[in-house]
Amino acid sequence: MQRDFVLRIIAKLLIPYILLFALYVQFHGDFGPGGGFQAGVIFAAGIILYALVNGFEQAVRLVSPRILPPIAAFGVLLYGGVGVVSMLRGGAFLDYNLLAHDPVHGQHYGILLIELGVGITVASIMLTIFYAFMERNR
């Protein structure tokens, strides 16, 4: 695996674009196909490709498995936090209309934030699961 030059160079070319594409899917999900679930999975797939080509040690140096569970929890809390903020502003849980002066703007902010929470959680959980299997394989 370490000696496969073609694979390594192609992966090196592809990985930045995969990660960039994940961010595009994340933030353009309102207008075209995409959203937090897809972006999270694509982002995780980029890192997984890196780990498969360069080996587990290198991947751990890039993204440590230790920081992933707190990040995943942060994603869920960000989602729930948006709901709590809308409650504090006098609405129902997850009522985005109250997040800004204009209800449609509020909806935009709400959707952006909760999609971000979903994306963060999905990406870090997929990576956590992959690392758990990789670690057993060593």
Binding site: F31, F37, V41, I125, I129, A132, F133
Partner: protein, 141 residues
């Protein structure tokens, strides 16, 4: 077209039964999980087929007056796919632990270790060449 009006549903149920067959007929736990995934995908197809409207387009706002397919099944299945991979991973993790505890992922061999025929339990546990024979004994308790 009239004749093939239900073709999607026929295929969905065929695939569903294929997955079901793999789950109940194969003894290997990894194969069973693949079978469950086939079953799951057929359910996804069933939902998406029901959401399709003839002549419709993807539910992203385009020209006014366009005909859109039903977005609701898409939403349900979109989240179900991601939850599905998470639960598949959980199932695979269980398979890995079963392999470590029993030294096998074949259903019959696991049953044989749990209910040894005619009191041959100690012989079986010690006779097994797997490195995890001890933990197999432990798991039987």
């Amino acid at each position: 077209m009239e004749l093939l009006g239900q073709y999607n549903y026929w295929v969905v149920f065929f695939l569903m039964m294929t997955g079901f067959y793999v789950v109940i007929a194969r003894g290997n736990l990894v194969a069973k999980i693949v079978g469950l995934n086939i079953f799951q995908t057929s359910v996804f197809l069933l939902y998406i087929s029901m959401g399709k409207v003839s002549g419709g387009t993807a539910p992203i706002v385009a020209d006014p007056g366009s005909l859109y397919s039903n977005p609701l099944p898409h939403v349900l299945i979109l989240t179900a796919i991601v939850v599905g991979v998470a639960t598949t991973a959980l199932g695979l993790a269980l398979v890995v632990r079963i392999k470590e505890a029993y030294g096998t992922v074949e259903e019959d061999e696991i049953y044989a270790q749990d209910d040894p025929p005619h009191g041959s339990a100690p012989a079986l546990a010690q006779g097994s060449e797997t490195a995890t024979a001890d933990s197999a004994g432990e798991a039987r308790r």
